[in-house]
Amino acid sequence: MLRFLSLRLGRAALTIVLVVTFAFVVLRLSGDPAMLIMGAEASPEAIAAFRASWGLDEPIWVQYFAYFGALAQGDLGMSMRDGRPALDMVLDRVPATLALTVPALLIKIGLGIPAGIYAALHRDSAIDRAVMVLAIAGFTVPSFVLSLLLVLLFAVKLGWLPSGGNQTLLHAVLPVLTLGIGGAAILARFTRSAMLEVLNQPYVRTASAKGVPWRRVVVGHVLPNAMIPTVTIIGFMVGNLIAGAVVVESVFSWPGIGRMLVTAVANRDLAVVQTILLLVAATMVAANLIVDLLYGVLDPRLRQAPAARGGH
């Protein structure tokens, strides 16, 4: 187990270093933060003063090693735009994003999995077809379009809900719904496919033939086996809790991490972008680790060493 964990963590650390390096090089080579932050109308003197004060006039490799040197000491840097520690700024925004993505995740799971199970158990029925049509629609309609449709209906036409902002709980309803509907559609499709695959397995037919009640077959044999791919998808969704609402936050003017990332990339505010990337990478790694552990819970065979399972 220790070896498993160390390998996973080592791989994760390498991934993070590569991501951060890639982002550093791309962001630095594709735009000058001084001009982006100060604007096109800024005077050449102001641009030059800004560059000098942030070390942007140094060669890129000097900037790179300075950044990593500070990172190694736990210093994620200061925002060039705000003059505040990047970590503080990013952590300030995390609760707002989680306020959208956590309820949305619950909707995805609460709506998507039961819908997928029901559709699989009633394959080719009218309900199955209806569920799949809705799932495909929810999956294929971009969140930008879906969010505007919801705004037009619930904010402009009916006037029931606010169209944007984050002042009250009601302001969260439409963005949460937008995120939840799209994710539920994905889960419904995956759950249905996984269920159908398991339902066709010989051991399910054997259990039925032996007279095991159908409910027990489904709960005891079909569901646990069908849940492995579903848990993988949920793992991705959990990993996306931090950065999974970029578009929705922009449309609904929700002051979360996604909107901050868009602004920081546009301004080449490197410290902020890198801090968000580190946070996203850490969330992804943690989510993947949990998923790996859950595999063992769902399928006891996976808990055993390869040799014990007859592997080589």
Partner: protein, 545 residues
């Protein structure tokens, strides 16, 4: 011990839940004045409210006339002509000195009275100029203005002194004559001093407000000024809430609160306006005006601003070295067609890089190069152009209708035999990057004060961006720029301005003006309010209800 029954607990919980669900403004006190929410694309570029750091159109909107005020203001409701604001009158002492009498009884947001000491501090090294020096400082004797060491946390961002010095290249000092009289002393003769006093960046702040701030950033997000509204809270990239400053010298403000919210997407701003979430939706693209006004309850106001859209040339690109090609490009453009098609006819083609509010420096018989495709085609032929590609670096709608305008231009240039090819770029440093593919690009120029020095000299003269990035230079134009900056002879200056436009727009084109820029704000018709010919939004007593 707290006695909490199940019923009372549910009551309290219900009430608490209710407060969470209610809009914040509904919780405001019983002040009968309305509060409004304004949806903007962006509140500020720098996430600060410092006029010397936030030098942008979006900054102009939140600053004027709500927050910051200068000694000389602009008439936002008319033609932006200079009007007395914190100074009631001003006079020339000599060609280097202007004396101003301050308005008495003006209160800052912290309750202090405005005095000459605050004005002097607003133009001090500590707040504005840092260690920069006036260009001709040695021509006058200066005493008692040593460079102070800023206290911890109040160090100026480096761009602030740079901006201040660019606004005031030769200002030596501002001195207090008495409690209500100040003098601006320049190192060299300058006829634009009054214009510079009226410009964006010369506003007055409370000295005590600065001294009591914990850090520059704290101050810059809640500056203590004299405007009709004061800052309650600024949430970076999200919102800015202003509240009425009831001791405002110009009368009690008509609104209790103004809340600017950043809504980056156009459809979201429009949807929020139609649903009543916002009372104003700014930065409306021209192609959405008809759509919004199809609803009889709404209207779109606004129009031209002090900013012209230009096409800028790099005369060192091999295809553009011959001025005939650049001149052909200027004559190939049907500017009015662009205004009609892409701006719904709601802006104008101006008379070159100048504005009416230049007053007697305005060259009224000047015009942009005439649309004459035949002349343009002849020039192309005369230049011996063989169809080599001319790159046109383009941003994705940084300016309103930028991409469609570029597509129209490319087609107009193609009609006269020019092969201009669009290259999409992501940001300004890619646009300005010195490389063989830099030839044509977009830009816009403003006029921060009512004199050509603020535009053609500052943008295209020797210290302007175009020459600084190496796109263009012209010896005669640079001599004329010096005349405009230093001469006090009106006739000589006007002649120099005209000649400089002849060079920059006709003979050796540095740029060509396409049209005046415009900004549009949508609102319910029922709200009685008039948009200014600027990004500024005026919510003082005379412009509401």
């Amino acid at each position: 011990m707290l006695d909490l029954s199940r019923r009372s607990f549910l009551g309290v919980a219900g009430a608490a839940g209710g407060t969470l669900l209610l809009p914040r403004f509904a919780l405001a006190s019983a002040d009968p004045r309305p509060s409004i929410t304004i949806a903007v694309q962006k509140i500020t570029n720098t996430n600060t409210l410092d006029v010397l750091r936030e030098q942008s159109n979006v900054g102009e909107r939140v600053f004027f006339s709500s927050l910051w005020e200068g000694l000389i203001g602009r008439n936002w409701g008319n033609k932006l002509e200079p009007v007395p604001l914190l100074a009631t009158e001003w006079r020339r002492i000599d060609d280097k000195t202007v004396e101003l009498t301050l308005r008495q009884g003006v209160k800052f947001h912290n309750g202090d009275e405005l005095t000459a000491e605050d004005v002097v501090f607003s133009f001090s090294r500590e707040r504005a100029f840092g260690t920069t020096e006036p260009a001709n400082r040695t021509t006058v004797s200066v005493s008692g203005d040593g460079i102070p060491q800023p206290r911890a946390g109040m160090e100026l961002p480096p761009e602030v002194p740079a901006v201040a010095r660019r606004n005031w290249p030769d200002l030596v000092r501002v001195e207090a004559v008495d409690k209500y009289t100040v003098r601006f002393v320049n190192a060299s003769p300058d006829v634009t001093l009054e214009g510079r006093i009226a410009r964006y960046g010369s506003e007055i702040m409370s000295r005590r407000g600065w001294e009591e701030a914990n850090s520059y950033l704290d101050w810059a997000r809640k500056p203590i000024t004299t405007g009709p509204y004061k800052v309650v809270e600024m949430v970076p990239d999200t919102s800015l809430t202003l509240e009425a400053h009831d001791e405002y010298w110009g009368g009690r403000p008509p609104l209790k609160r103004i809340r600017f919210v950043a809504v980056s997407e156009v459809p979201s701003r429009i949807a929020g306006l139609l649903s009543g979430e916002y009372q104003f939706a700014c930065d409306i693209p021209p192609d959405q005006i008809a759509e919004i006004e199809a609803n009889p309850a709404f209207e779109v106001q606004g129009g031209t601003i002090l900013n012209h859209r230009l096409i800028v040339f790099d005369k060192h690109h091999p295809q553009l070295e011959n001025p005939l090609i650049r001149r052909a490009m200027t004559h190939a453009i049907d500017r009015q067609a662009i205004v009609d098609a892409l701006w719904a006819g709601r802006t104008v083609v101006p008379k070159g890089l100048q504005w009416d509010y230049y007053g007697d420096m305005f060259v009224s018989d000047w015009d942009v190069p005439a649309f004459d495709p035949k002349l343009a085609a002849d020039m192309v032929k005369q230049a011996g152009y063989k169809g080599e590609p001319i790159p046109y670096r383009l941003l994705n709608n940084y300016y309103t209708a930028q991409v469609p305008t570029a597509q129209v231009l490319v087609e107009m240039w193609r009609q006269v035999g020019l092969n201009v090819q669009i290259e999409m770029k992501e940001n300004w440093s890619q646009i300005l990057e010195r490389s063989p593919t830099r030839a044509v690009r977009d830009w816009s120029n403003s006029a921060p004060f009512s004199d050509p020095v603020s535009s053609i000299v500052n943008q295209h003269g020797p210290n302007g961006q175009q020459q600084q990035v190496g796109e263009w230079e012209n010896k005669e134009a640079n001599l004329l720029a010096a005349v405009l900056e230093t001469s006090t002879d009106h006739a000589e200056r006007k002649k120099a301005f005209r000649r400089m436009m002849e060079i920059c727009e006709r003979e050796d084109p540095a740029y060509t003006v396409l049209h005046q820029n415009a900004t549009f704000t949508a609102k319910p018709k029922a709200l009685k309010w008039k948009a200014a010919p600027a990004f500024a939004v005026d919510f003082r007593a005379g412009n509401w209800g």
